[in-house]
């Protein structure tokens, strides 16, 4: 999974931003969302979740999986990512 050609990502103190340059819209990202975008190169939602489990407390596993699925679904719906 990756950001589409016209989407740029930058990390910020508060998390990050996605800039969709065709519509010139900016999406702000929480630290969790930023971590998900950072790990997109790992593959699909399952692979991203596995990477994040390594970085965060495993007890939050269900939360991580939920966050990844809902966030990626949102990005797909907005046309910001592609496989």
């Amino acid at each position: 999974m990756r950001l589409t050609k016209f989407v740029k990502f930058r990390e910020e103190k508060f998390g990050g931003v996605l800039f969709e340059t065709r519509s010139e819209k900016v999406f702000t990202l929480s630290p969790t969302a930023t971590a998900i975008v950072r790990e997109m190169g790992a593959g699909d939602e399952r692979a991203i979740t596995a990477r994040l489990r390594e970085q965060f407390d495993a007890r939050d596993s269900a939360t991580i999986e939920h966050d990844v699925r809902s966030f990626v679904a949102d990005l797909r719906q907005r046309g910001l990512v592609e496989d």
């Binding site: 998390g15 010139e24 900016v26 929480s30 969790t32 969302a33 949102d74």
Partner: protein, 338 residues
């Protein structure tokens, strides 16, 4: 293009913050480490002398103190080092800058997205192929009419057929095209036909708004001024065209007046720097305030001052003055350093 940007249209809407679902709240410019968008007027030289040109560009109108080659590439390197994701080159006519293609290559090769805003008169097949090979995000072409009569009247020294051919060359080279339209009393009635033409030419976006009373437009206003009734009809047509082309071409139009736009920006500054050909940095195109100078300051210093300058009481006062005297926009070139 930068020189003929209509109020609130195109780049000035950049860095508007959409509200994403599972994330944190909106980011203001103050929260960001660097700008998200740099709109750079790389030269004031132009082959045309358009009636409405904000920058008063034209033949022989290059600033005497435009950035030299070393300064130009230093600015680009600073933008790229700060991970500025989006840059536009405008003018004047940016393709007249002697380092134009080298600048395009420098930006695109570093991964930023670049938009070129041009009058379309240098879009030969070879130049379009180069722009395509270099990977520009889009080329925005100004098309101020659906006919030779209206286009050539607005774009003094310009030629409608040359611009249309240039757009076709862009599409043949696979370069994404945006079309920009500035209304005047003599072309406003063609808006529907211009949107149709933009789609026929393969544009993916169409931008327009209200033409500003500044620059060349001050002198030519009696030839340009669009009445309220004409604007009402203009925006009605645009709403219909936006629906008609939904899913095929984005029709963007900025209906709000300049004052409304500035009042919004005062509270929510866009993360956008406007860089002039001499390296001065404006707070926003529609205000006279300068908040930096790339000849003397780094991007980090300019960005810090940009965020501070929006709180300067002179900015709010100027916007308030505009409410009483909308014609104060004629003074936008009398720069005020903050």
């Amino acid at each position: 293009m930068g020189a003929d940007r209509v109020s609130g249209a195109a780049g000035e809407g950049a860095a508007d913050v959409a509200a994403p679902a599972p994330h944190s709240g909106p980011a203001e410019a103050e929260d960001l480490a660097a700008p998200l968008y740099v709109a750079w007027q790389i030269t004031n030289e132009c082959n045309l002398a358009c009636l409405h040109c904000i920058e008063e560009s034209g033949p022989g109108k290059a600033f005497a103190d435009e950035l030299d080659d070393a300064q130009v590439f230093s600015v680009i390197d600073q933008l790229m080092a700060s991970d500025v994701p989006y840059v536009s080159f405008s003018g004047g006519e940016p393709m007249l800058h002697p380092q134009f293609f080298a600048m395009v290559e420098r930006v695109c090769s570093r991964g930023a997205q670049l938009k070129v805003e041009t009058n379309g008169h240098y879009l030969s097949p070879d130049n379009c192929a180069r722009l395509g090979d270099l990977g520009v995000k889009a080329v925005q072409v100004s098309l101020d009419g659906a006919s030779r009569a209206t286009f050539n009247r607005m774009r003094v020294r310009g030629e409608f057929a040359t611009t249309v051919e240039g757009v076709r060359n862009l599409r043949a080279a696979g370069v994404p095209v945006e079309i920009n339209f500035s209304p005047a009393v003599f072309n406003v009635g063609e808006i529907g036909a211009v949107v149709d033409l933009a789609h026929e030419l393969g544009a993916y976006s169409f931008y327009t708004g209200r033409t500003m009373y500044t620059g060349n437009a001050v002198k030519a206003w009696r030839h340009l001024q669009v009445s309220d009734a004409q604007y009402e009809r203009f925006f009605d047509v645009l709403r219909a065209k936006a629906d008609e082309y939904r899913g095929r071409m984005r029709v963007y139009f900025h209906e709000a007046g300049l004052l409304e736009e500035l009042r919004f920006r005062l509270k929510h500054p866009a993360a956008l720097l406007i860089v002039l050909p001499n390296g001065l940095v404006k707070l926003i195109n529609a205000l006279p305030f300068v908040c930096g100078d790339f000849r003397r300051q780094t991007l980090a210093e300019i960005w810090a001052n940009f965020r501070r300058a929006w709180h300067d009481p002179r900015v709010a006062a100027f916007i308030d003055d505009l409410a009483a005297d909308p014609a104060r926009t004629r003074t936008l070139h009398q720069w005020v350093h903050l």
